[in-house]
């Protein structure tokens, strides 16, 4: 099956006072239709930037983004408008992603109104239907965002994203601002929606247990670079990159009897400003040597399992 979304050597650099911030560097990934790719990494690793660049909220610096067979970076105005209908985003912060001066129904209606191809009656019905789908009570129609709790706000954001029946949704940490009990409600909702509507997700998060629950494929990022990408089960069973290993071992578990051996990382995190060639994890990597600062190549170590580490084979005795 052809990939719905594909990037080839995607780059996004920002100018800053001190130099170029390499927020996203040479990322190539494929997202199959109907699947969820989990994008994990720590704060500031560029995962949000990658998500925003994919749906063209940011101009990319270099590289290709192919959506449904078309290069997104080369779309004209009309095509861009159609592209926008197909891709949507669910934001992290349910406080700032909703206009505080609009009511719930205003917010959900807006994409339908802007589209211009619906009658007033249709808009009304569709809004009601959307509220129903995401589980917002009808009585909250005229409420303002500040009157809702975080979970309901996030549901409003999801309803807005679903309004025009998109194919692909970038979920940018949609549950990290929520409490555990509410988080589970939203995760279940997102998974149900995917099943019912055949949605494709890029699910951005820093929480390994969430990404494990929701994804098919997982892509691990570190300071703008991809470090490892493979099937979910494969990643949790055979993490091959030293960073992924440390990341997985660091997750606190609720199992108090079987304590895992932690890999505690030492060393300073490299700056993403003009980072130079080579592996950016080298400064914290227990296996790094001089050669790691020269350059680094992605390789398929096991079938469908890509690792960006020169020493992957050596470390893992493959």
């Amino acid at each position: 099956m052809a990939a719905l979304v594909e990037t080839q050597d995607l780059k996004k650099y920002f100018k800053s006072g001190a130099g170029l911030v390499h927020a996203v560097d040479n990322i190539s990934l494929k997202i199959e239709e109907g699947e969820t790719v989990g994008l994990v990494g720590e704060s500031g690793c560029g995962k949000s930037t990658l998500g925003r660049t994919l749906i063209h909220l940011n101009e990319s610096t270099d590289g290709k983004i192919i959506f449904n067979g078309k290069d997104v970076t080369k779309l004209n105005k009309k095509q861009m408008k159609d592209f926008r209908k197909d891709v949507q985003m669910i934001f992290q912060d349910p406080y700032s992603s909703l206009n505080p001066r609009e009511t719930v129904s205003d917010i959900i209606m807006e994409p339908l109104k802007l589209d211009g191809s619906f009658s007033r009656e249709e808009i009304k019905n569709r809004t009601r239907e959307l509220m129903d789908i995401v589980g917002i009570e009808k009585r909250l129609r005229m409420s303002y965002p500040h009157e809702l709790d975080g979970g309901r706000r996030q549901r409003v954001g999801i309803a807005r994203a679903l309004a025009l029946k998109p194919k692909f949704i970038v979920c940018d940490e949609p549950v990290s601002a929520l409490d555990v009990s509410i988080q589970a409600q939203i995760l279940n909702l997102l998974m149900d929606l995917q099943k019912d509507m055949g949605l494709t997700y890029l699910f951005i998060t820093h929480d390994m247990s969430v990404v494990k629950h929701i994804s098919n494929q997982i892509c691990v990022m570190y300071l703008g670079q991809m470090v490892e990408m493979c099937d979910k089960k494969e990643l949790f069973a055979y993490p091959l990159h030293p960073y992924t290993k440390a990341l997985l071992s660091a997750i606190p578990t609720t199992d108090i009897h079987n304590r895992k051996e932690r890999i505690i990382l030492k060393g300073e995190i490299k700056s993403p400003i003009n980072p130079g060639p080579g592996c950016r994890f080298a400064s914290r990597c227990p296996y790094a040597d001089e050669s790691c600062n020269q350059g680094v190549q992605a390789c398929e170590v096991r079938p469908g399992h890509y690792v960006v580490c020169n020493k992957a084979k050596e470390i893992n005795q493959l």
Binding site: D93, S96, S97, L114, Y144, G157, R160, A161, A163
Partner: protein, 311 residues
């Protein structure tokens, strides 16, 4: 309000201090914060603002009616009763030319208020547009606009207003223009800061993802969220500009004789402050009360508009 009395669950030293805290006015909880109704309820619960509004309303009505209700014309000189102390005939006394100070003060209110209001409207409109453009588009547009406005801010505002008056000449309209131009940078900066804050909100990004055109993003998502501080600033600016109008007139640059602008009245009678202090004190009191009224109203709006929705 009964529940106020029910609240006493304190007996430790530390807790007593908790009682001093400022409590928000009791507004019907069914009114939504942020709605016009809420703002009105909040402002009308504020004693200072009520005083300010009553005082200003009174002044405006009396000023408009003054030609009909006052016994004396504001510019009629009466050499028979020059420098008369306040009395039954002349409630506020007369000035050095025998003009009735009550008539002059009431009639003169219109100058202070008109100059204050119109100059503010001028600077608010121009400033808000410039600030919005600078904030939204950023980059070189922002730099050019803001550096240009920095030129204005390099001088104390009154000095700048004096310079403009010197160029334009004297008179009510010139005074409005001078103060209006002087006030632009303040509004522009405020608006720009606001826009920059709102522009980074995720709901602006969300609007982009649903194909919202730029003008609509500005009109529907940015402006409504940016106006609250502007409204407060407008109230403050009216008071500031009213005061500045009096200052300019006092210096001989604003409204000219025989128009009874308050500052100009102060200037004309300042030589008599020792022997006939009422000539100076009475217009002075009106200036102070008017400025105070606008400030109180501005403060009340600030409290009412502050969207402390989260807690």
């Amino acid at each position: 309000m009964d529940d106020l009395k029910k609240r006493h669950g304190r007996h430790h030293g530390y807790h007593e201090k908790g009682r001093k805290g400022k409590r928000r006015h009791h507004i019907d909880p069914s009114i939504k914060p942020g709605s016009a109704k809420y703002i009105w309820a909040s402002v009308s619960h504020n004693k200072g603002a009520v005083f300010g509004m009553v005082f200003l309303a009174l002044i405006i009505v009396l000023s408009l009616l003054s030609p009909y209700i006052c016994k004396y014309n504001y510019s009629a000189t009466d050499f028979a009763s020059m420098k008369a102390w306040p009395s039954a005939q002349h409630w506020f006394g007369t000035d050095d030319l025998g003009r009735d100070i009550l008539s002059r003060v009431l009639y003169g209110a219109r100058y202070t208020l008109i100059i204050g209001l119109l100059s503010t409207v001028f600077s608010a409109i121009v400033g808000v547009i410039m600030g919005a453009i600078a904030g939204y588009f950023g980059g070189i547009v922002d730099s050019c606009l803001m550096r240009f406005l920095d030129l204005f801010q390099a001088f104390p505002s009154l000095v700048l207003a004096m310079a403009f008056c010197a160029v334009f000449g004297t008179g009510v309209d010139k005074c409005i223009l001078a103060l209006g131009i002087t006030g632009i940078p303040g509004f522009a900066r405020l608006m720009r800061a606001n826009i920059l804050r709102i522009r980074n909100m995720e709901y602006i990004e969300a609007a982009t993802t649903i194909n919202c055109p730029t003008w609509k993003i500005i009109a529907q998502h940015i402006i409504p969220n940016a106006v609250s501080p502007i409204i407060v600033e407008i109230a403050m600016s009216v008071s500031r500009n009213g005061l500045a109008a009096s200052s300019l007139s006092f210096l001989g640059l604003g409204v000219q004789e025989p128009k009874p602008e308050w500052g100009q009245m102060l200037a004309a009678t300042r030589n008599y402050i020792r022997d006939f202090p009422y000539m100076v004190i009475i217009p002075g009191i009106f200036i102070v009360l008017t400025v105070l009224s606008f400030n109180l109203i501005g403060d009340a709006f600030r409290d009412a508009l502050d969207p402390n929705f989260k807690d």
